[in-house]
């Protein structure tokens, strides 16, 4: 990968108030000393089980959660860890996000056109130009321009996710955080959306931080991957290396647990595993 990274995260920690009633008042570390970097045009997959801190890392890069002392987030040479609100807003044109839940990610009372055009209008782009850019970005995600006049309720999950991707792309960002963009979708729709994201990555030289709990999708979609457990990265490297030759026991356990769509292979694995796995979680 090219030398100059687009995004460098060093020693990132994020703490939250404990939600456990018995430990009220205590802080708990959702992300604990995470470092990672991402080159232009590269896709880095973050995998881990629920609660391992994947989404929190994405939110920290987006400036949606406060980072702990000593954390450093550098984007395109600029330290944005403590970026003031004004600077943050400006970064909105360069770092964008697509969330998991296509049903809550669009405001139901605004038309698609209003939602897509909003950031442009807010930065002084005139009405005509906004309209033509909305039409452009809709065609990029394979939707027809008359979609702009409709409300989100009219669209299926997959179509809404296309619109959410269009919203992320409308100002030509360099980095898009994809937070489980296909987890809520059906298999056939997931395939369509992954194909779309791959084509967009190729055309616009986008970098993706791809957050997912699905190791198969990460393997297919990413160049490099990092495995998270309890807020820490336990293993990181090229996707093939991590999946073919995992070094850490946790990675191995995780990989062994993913059922493969092959009854023979599954039977073989189950026999080798049955000696290991028992007990509750």
């Amino acid at each position: 990968m090219p030398a100059e990274p687009l995004l460098t995260v060093t020693d990132l920690t994020v703490e939250f108030d404990s939600t456990d009633r018995r430990r009220r008042g205590q802080r708990f570390r959702a992300v604990d000393g995470v470092s990672l970097s991402l080159a232009p045009g590269e896709t880095l997959g973050l995998v881990g089980e629920s609660g391992s801190g994947k989404s929190t890392i994405g939110n920290a890069v987006l400036g949606l959660v406060a980072t702990g002392p000593g954390s450093r987030i550098v984007f395109d040479g600029e330290d944005i860890t403590q970026a003031p609100p004004k600077r943050r807003r400006a970064l909105g044109s360069r770092i964008q996000v697509v969330f998991q839940d296509p049903y809550s990610s669009l405001n139901p009372s605004r038309t698609i056109g209003q939602t897509l055009g909003e950031p442009l209008r807010a930065t002084g782009v005139d009405r005509r130009e906004t309209r033509s850019r909305v039409a452009d970005v809709l065609s990029k995600v394979d939707m027809s321009p008359d979609v702009a006049a409709r409300y989100p309720a009219q669209f299926s999950g997959g179509q809404r996710q296309r619109i959410a991707i269009a919203r992320a792309l409308i100002r030509d960002p360099q980095l898009v955080i994809l937070d489980e963009p296909t987890s809520a979708l059906d298999l056939s729709v997931q395939a369509q959306i992954l194909n779309l994201l791959i084509a967009l990555r190729r055309d616009a030289h986008l970098s993706y931080l791809f957050i997912s709990h699905d190791i198969d999708v990460v393997r297919f979609f990413s160049h490099r991957m990092a495995v998270l457990q309890h807020g820490r990265i336990v293993e990181e490297g090229d996707v093939d290396a991590v999946i073919e030759r995992p070094r850490e026991p946790y990675t191995r356990e995780l990989l062994a647990a993913v059922p493969v769509a092959d009854p023979r292979e599954q039977r073989r694995r189950r026999e080798s595993r049955s000696s290991v796995v028992t007990g509750s979680r």
Binding site: R89, S109, E118, Q154, Q190, N195, V260, R281
Partner: protein, 652 residues
């Protein structure tokens, strides 16, 4: 390929229109709104409408009831009550409006900022709210009135300030709920200012509760305003206000009781109207929050007549009499605008004792409905409209609720995707488990408790005693699913229907739960129907599988045959678009388009619009399930050959 618009629902209108429409469903609310608008119009147009000057006396006609010249009668000085009522409305409604405006102006911003920004802003706002709530309202008002004498505006504004904390609380609560919506996050990431987000995204979403609260408060304000008028504050005689009209009337109530009616009734009706309006708005906005936006599966409104049942019956695998469950030509429908819409159509499947069978397909294709029909648990108004479900020779579709209940649990049990939701949050796990056990087997308390612990140990829970004492919310997802499995097993069922039992769980927990299900199935010899959208799960635990698409079984086969050589294009496409099977750097061989909704299934083959090898005759007649090899059947006129690749890599 570009998507044409196929609306899922018809709820696309802006909120305002929807609100007005929903008022139609609340005739009382509409009536209340009408009355209030009428009063407001009367107040504004009093100069034109009032037949007399409100202060003009006509001593010859004093204390009269309704007459031709004085429609609502007159008071002790012969002043026309209708005119006084209209001009009095100006005073009373203005006072009310001042109080309501103040409540909104003070309460809404505090609530919005506290809810949206959180942190110290929230704490400061909370402090202000607490202080204001501690002020004794009536005393405060009387003090203010005493100081400012007849300036009623000051009193009403003070009332508004005193009411603001209640408003702020409501707004804060709703704002916190909205703040966590992803579109708010996305708007922030887009670089929009806080003000912009609050005004354009948050405010419209919390406007419902604001209007409700304001309307209810208006009733209170009107009551207070007229009360003050009655006590002699505010508008001074001879100028009318509703309050001093009541005061006037009360002096003559013994000789002229009618005089109290116009003002009294107007006040009562207005207050009632504010309350009714608030309730109507609450009902309609609550319905909206629960409805349109979140419902992802909906039966398309324009349902066609159900497709004619296939000319030749779906090939039944020779009626295998030793199968435990035999579903034959099952059709399940919902009533629709025109007749009924089928949700599942002509499903035939069977499960032998001790067998593990998979039901696989995408969301909305009818997997869960099939499972629920087998349990006799179809939600209203969904109903079986054709076919039979034979469990051990007995037709489940013909059983009454009592018999069904006996069957469930003892013979057929269910575990579902959300184990925590299937447990009762107010009782401990032990309590619920023992209750279920008692239903199935008599025994002393001791024996039942021991059986409960044994069951929990059976599902690999490490500390059964501790789990017994826990409440459902204290369990992790995996533990809760184990408990749900234990409860399902309590009645020693012969068939377990597992609807996406591991979909909500992490992969490592999923692997354990699937292992557990296999072991229990082997030990007890029960049959298991696993419903899943995950091929990996099917490959892991099933011997045979049925693939469903748009309400039909499109393929059935032993899993090895199915994975090695799917004969239906949909099964092949669904297997092929798994990222786990694809080479990196390529695009996925995706199926274009999407699953049609029930009610808009195409004639002929349901898959034909998306099928790359469809021909003309595919859309002509319903396609039957045809056997392609022993135990292998496909609902396709041109079944695929082994290794035939038909999906391109550029569908996106």
């Amino acid at each position: 390929m570009t998507y044409s618009l196929t609306p899922d629902t018809n709820s696309a209108r802006p909120q305002r229109v929807r609100f007005l429409r929903s008022l139609r469903r609340h005739p009382l609310g509409a009536l209340a709104l009408g009355l209030l608008l009428l009063l407001a119009a009367g107040a504004i147009l009093a100069d034109l409408l009032a037949p007399y000057d409100p202060t003009a006396t006509d001593l010859g006609n004093s204390l009269s009831g309704p007459t031709g010249s004085h429609l609502l009668g007159t008071d002790a000085l012969g002043r026309d009550l209708l005119s006084r009522l209209l001009f009095g409305a100006r005073v009373s409604l203005t006072g009310t409006a001042q109080a309501v405006a103040t409540v909104i102006a003070v309460g809404v911003p505090i609530g919005l900022l506290a809810g949206y920004l959180g942190g110290w802003v929230d704490r400061v706002a909370g402090g202000i709210i607490d202080v204001l709530l501690a002020v004794p309202g009536i005393v405060m008002l009387l003090v203010i009135v005493a100081i400012f004498g007849n300036n009623e505006s000051v009193a009403m504004i003070a009332l508004g300030v005193l009411g603001a904390p209640g408003m702020a609380r409501v707004v804060r609560g709703s704002t916190i709920a909205v703040r966590n919506e992803l579109y708010i996050k996305a708007a922030r990431v887009s670089g929009l200012t806080t003000r912009h987000v609050l005004v354009n995204h948050v405010l419209p979403r919390v406007s419902g509760p604001i209007v409700v609260r304001a309307s209810l408060f208006a009733g209170v304000a009107l009551l207070v305003e007229t009360g003050l008028g009655f006590l002699g504050f505010g508008a001074q005689p001879p100028d009318p206000s509703w309050g001093n009209m009541v005061a006037d009337a009360s002096q003559f109530v013994a000789i002229a009781p009618w005089m109290l009616v116009p003002s009294g009734a107007t006040i009562a009706l207005s207050i009632l109207s504010f309350g009714l309006l608030g309730d109507a708005i609450r009902d309609s906005t609550a319905g909206r929050a629960r409805g349109a936006d979140r419902v992802r599966r909906k039966v398309a409104g324009d349902a066609k007549e159900p497709a004619a049942t296939p000319a030749q019956p779906a090939t039944e695998t020779p009626d295998d009499s030793d199968a435990l469950l035999r579903v034959r030509g099952l059709t399940v429908s919902v009533p629709a605008a025109t007749g009924q819409a089928d949700i599942i159509s002509d499903v035939t499947l069977e499960i032998r004792a001790g067998e593990t069978v998979g039901l696989v397909g995408e969301s909305g294709c009818g997997k869960s409905m099939t499972g629920r029909a087998i349990l006799g648990l179809l939600p209203q108004p969904v109903a079986v409209t054709g076919g039979r479900i034979l469990f051990d020779g007995q037709d489940i579709t013909k059983l009454g609720p009592r018999q069904l209940q006996r069957l469930r649990g003892a013979q057929i049990a269910l575990i579902s995707q959300e184990p925590v939701a299937s447990l009762d949050p107010v009782f401990t796990v032990g309590h619920q488990l023992k209750e279920v056990l008692l239903r199935h087997q008599p025994g002393s308390r001791r024996e039942i408790a021991r059986a409960a612990v044994a069951l929990l140990r059976d599902v690999n829970l490490r500390e059964p005693e501790r789990v017994m004492r826990s409440y459902p919310h204290q369990l992790s997802g995996g533990m809760a699913q184990r408990v749900a499995i234990a409860m399902a097993l309590a009645g020693r069922p012969r068939l377990l229907v597992a609807d996406e039992p591991t979909t909500a769980l992490d992969v490592t927990v999923q692997a354990e739960i699937l292992g557990l299900l296999r072991r229990l199935q082997r030990q007890t010899g029960m049959a298991v129907l696993i419903i899943s959208h995950d091929w990996g799960v099917i490959a892991d635990v099933c011997e045979r599988a049925y693939v469903m698409y748009a309400g039909q079984v499109v393929e059935q086969a032993p899993v090895l045959d199915l994975f090695d050589g799917p004969r239906h294009p949909y099964s092949a496409g669904l297997l092929g678009c798994m990222p786990g099977r694809a080479a990196r750097g390529d695009l996925l061989p995706a199926i274009g388009g999407r699953v049609p909704q029930p009610g808009s299934w195409p004639t002929g083959c349901h898959f034909s619009p998306r099928c790359p090898i469809a021909r003309d005759d595919c859309t002509r007649d319903p396609v039957a399930l045809n056997e392609t090899a022993a135990g292998h059947a496909s609902r396709c006129l041109y079944p695929l050959l082994v290794d035939e690749k038909v999906f391109s890599h550029d569908a996106r």
